[in-house]
Symmetry: C2
């Protein structure tokens, strides 16, 4: 491109806040090309043992330090900008996406309580990261009460909300540290908090309140519901969520505000540059991969899989994580589903169930053990290994919403080897996705094709298996940083360069269309095997045999109770 054209181009910055680091990408608005990127690791990472001052944390806690987020604006953004050679004048917007529900208490001015010396030693004053799981007792009560009261929002979340979500974390704060709760004038998603820091404007994005804060049909649950959980919790919405913004929610792609002088100095961008309403990392990936309308199920495949899907109508789909109006694209229903264990099940196998001979071969060939197992497993025809597994090593989110389930494999013989199990586990997760697809369809939300994002998209055998098992073509995201691209696209909309996200996607999204097509013979075999999976899925997962839960109960008793055998070994 000539220097002249380059000068004529416009750019936005997409900033993706992950669990361990924040990443800034400079994106060209004409075609979505990533010009440069930079990463800032969080100095405090995930705090799951202690606070910076040494205060010990309980089990299942996971906190973060808000300054680490600001560091990303002060380091990654200017670094990426510099590396891109793009001038600040050419940058018309900033968009961010965040993990969720990642949430913190602040003052009415947006100062994190943990920044105040009198609260720095209190765990509840810090950011609770999405994977903070210590609010399970509160989540259990939230679910039980909602069920008893027949709360209309409950079915929108597959009948069960997670301990990771906003009100569970807020209730834990109230009940375990009422003083900090009393001084918290806001309890806000980190996504919205960083936008506030950039713009000086407090907003609440429509995505997180819908998926993480039970906002449905234009309102939160009523004060009577919260009061029944705990009388002191009755006004949580009015006092902690709506304090600065009232009932207004900010649609995705809207302009939250312009960069303050201070934030402009952090980032090296110009004051007043448009900042988009915050988004969630999974949901923002959809437009990055070209999805802004119905029929395309986006799978963000990593240690777990998050499925997002746009639907024209509201349907209550069993076992979903949530359905939110405007949750992915303004004006449309955004559906989210999930598989709790995907890449981490394969990693479990590779780490724990593969004998030395494969390690040695991989080493000798200079490839990863994953790659060796993939190559060996890819030599097989579908069904050749004779195995079917249930992919519930980490429980099941969609469609059974049951953390008490566990893994199962059937079909082993003395000839079963590691590549057989590797392939069987991949297939099991594909069957799990097919269950989700069929649930959407039978609930009236069509799924025409799959769109794959996330690290696992590089595994070609896995991709082909997903196409064959679901009988649908796969589009594959063709960008290294899907969420940052999606954020940059929302920034382009917020800046007014494109009228809406669909128009932005038309120019900027990056994907290989139909990179994998189902192979008819494989589809036929997998139809048979999926029928087996489904029978076992219902047998173990729908109460015909609750052996998985009883085994967990026995295991729980065993760890507490009976002294172990401790015979000396002679064999």
């Amino acid at each position: 491109m000539a220097e002249q054209d380059r000068q004529a181009e416009q750019y936005t910055v997409g900033v993706d806040f992950g669990s361990e680091s924040g990443r800034a990408v400079i994106v060209r608005l004409s075609d979505g090309e990533a010009m440069a990127e930079a990463v800032t690791p969080y100095r405090h990472g995930v705090m799951d043992h202690s606070l910076p001052d040494g205060t010990r944390l309980g089990r299942e806690w996971a906190l973060q330090h808000p300054q680490d987020y600001l560091d990303v604006f002060q380091q990654a953004v200017p670094q990426a900008l510099k590396a891109s050679g793009v001038s600040p004048e050419q940058v018309v917007g900033v968009g961010i996406d965040f993990t969720a529900c990642t949430v913190l208490p602040t003052t009415a001015e947006g100062v994190p309580l943990c920044f105040l010396p009198e609260y720095a030693g209190r765990p509840h004053a810090w950011v609770k990261l999405w994977k903070h799981h210590a609010a399970q007792p509160q989540a259990d009560r939230i679910n039980r009460l909602a069920e008893e009261r027949g709360e209309s929002w409950l079915p929108r979340y597959g009948g069960k909300i997670s301990s990771e979500w906003l009100f569970a974390k807020a209730l834990q704060l109230l009940e375990e540290d009422p003083d900090t709760y009393a001084h918290a004038e806001r309890f806000i998603e980190a996504a919205d908090w960083v936008v506030w820091q950039l713009t000086g404007v407090e907003t609440r994005n429509a995505c997180t309140v819908g998926y993480k804060a039970m906002y449905q049909d234009g309102h939160f649950p009523p004060p009577e519901y919260f009061s029944a959980l705990n009388p002191a919790f009755a006004d949580v919405v009015q006092t902690r969520l709506q304090g600065g913004v009232g009932e207004a929610l900010a649609p995705l792609g809207d302009r939250a505000g312009g960069l303050t002088d201070e934030a402009a100095a952090w980032t090296g961008l110009n004051p007043g540059t448009a900042v988009a309403v915050a988004n969630v990392d999974a949901h923002v990936t959809a437009p990055a991969a070209g999805v802004t309308g119905p029929g395309q199920l986006v799978l963000i495949m990593g240690t777990s899989t998050c499925h997002v899907l746009v639907g024209e109508n509201l349907a209550e789909v069993p076992g979903m994580c949530g359905v939110v109006e405007g949750g992915i694209v303004p004006g449309e229903y955004g559906y989210e589903a999930g598989q709790s264990g995907v890449g981490d099940i394969f990693a479990w196998l590779v780490k724990n169930m593969v004998p030395p001979e494969y390690h040695e071969r991989a080493k000798a060939e200079g490839i990863s053990l994953h790659a060796l197992l993939e190559r060996e497993a890819a030599k097989q025809a579908p069904g050749e290994h004779g195995l079917v597994a249930l992919d519930w090593w980490n429980g099941n989110r969609s469609v059974l919403v049951d953390a008490g389930l566990s893994g199962m494999i059937v079909g082993m013989t003395l000839a079963t080897r590691a590549p057989d199990l590797y392939r069987a586990l991949i297939e099991a997760t594909a069957y799990g996705t097919r269950v989700i697809v069929e649930n959407f369809e039978s609930s009236g939300v069509p799924v025409r094709e799959l769109v794959i994002a996330g690290g696992l998209k590089k595994n070609k055998m896995l991709m082909q298996i997903y196409a064959d098992v679901t009988g649908r073509p796969l589009n594959v995201l063709d960008a290294e940083q899907g969420p940052a691209l999606g954020s940059a696209m929302h920034a382009a909309v917020a800046a007014g360069v494109y009228p809406d996200i669909a128009a932005a996607a038309e120019h900027m999204s990056r994907f290989q269309a139909h990179a994998y097509q189902p192979i008819a013979a494989n589809v036929a075999t997998y139809d048979k095997l999926y029928a087996e999976y489904l029978t076992l899925h219902d047998y173990f997962g729908r109460g015909l045999n609750d052996v998985m839960k009883r085994l967990k109960a026995v295991a729980g008793e065993a760890v507490q109770g009976v002294p172990p055998l401790n015979e000396e070994v002679t064999a």
Copy 2:
């Protein structure tokens, strides 16, 4: 012991013919002490690829060379005798036990057809070892016809006879090599053949005809039955089995004859020394471990487990391998059951599912991987790993009699490790034994305690688990060579030193009584887990969900048909 007492002692020789070698043990009759032993490996081992002249064998064939057995008499016996310092005058008897059904065609004089130059190149002229599995089509027809005709003997074998047994092998001989069949004047168990070589006397021991040749209620199946299988097979019993002995069967412990001059020269023993009727290795282990009456289930635990049990009454117990009058102890009913995969399942796990870290630790500590896994697994309380498995990696013999079944494990999480699976597989085989125990009891054959023999008795964790799972005390065989000891005891009876095997066992058997006692707290937990096993056993094994068979069918089609995926690897 003073030299004088030593001179006054009497001894017998027990010779145990295994799959790879024969072993001779000199045993003292006063107390069963093994004075010395020697082993002769079979020069030709298991012939499963070709004959000595290079003739290729088909799949599933397994043959042996009869000369290898004679070598044992000429090498192991005199070596053991010499090593013991016992004089030939003090040796009053010889007893042998053999694998079964291991069977060969001979002339009327007992000359193996394979010794005749004109037959040496014919596979069917050689010894078919027990694990020759090429007669499966014949076994299938034998079972189908017996079922159609409602043959009364079929239920005595759990409703299905094995391709390993005598008539399946004989029918294969007839149909695949009618000329060799025509010249076979005998089709005889190798057990009886070696006794014939020692004594010049042809006998048919009551044990093998009962367990391997469908002899029940005083007769073989009728000629019409055999004729319906194949008209040329009608007289197989009269011409090939009863040729030299008529209808006479030889009871266990009887004197088959005395050593011939030639056999005396081979062994270094005196001519005329009593030779006992032949026995089968598993069954002869019972009296060696002190079992000559009802209520004690003997488990010979190795790669698979063979269960033998004496009962006072005839009962048709589902899924047994067989019930034979006089099959273990003359005058009593001898029951046999089996688990097709035990030690070989543990070996499968150790070889194929254990990651390098455990290999390295075992090496660093200088212990076997089995020992390391046993030690780690023994630290757990029952149920702590949260797993239940079905032990059907090699199919299921008792009580389901179904080779089409396969393995299953349920309860895995991301925290599951190799020692968990190791313990779960051991427990699964213990549950499998409990199913057998409960089947005996519900059929009216009591099981008071278990008696353990075979290599796995050294694994103390496994032993305690068997006691806890079955809720019964374990006696453990306290002799290195159980079968040879049992053969030496039968030799003592044949020589008239003891009036019967019970009297011999009183003096000579070697076992630790109640070496393991069930621990009440563990029994309570295992009762719960066994209930889970049983539900899954019936679900997968009794037709509620035949997924295991369908998976095998799909695997069979896959191997023949569809071309495999062969994508290049990039992950």
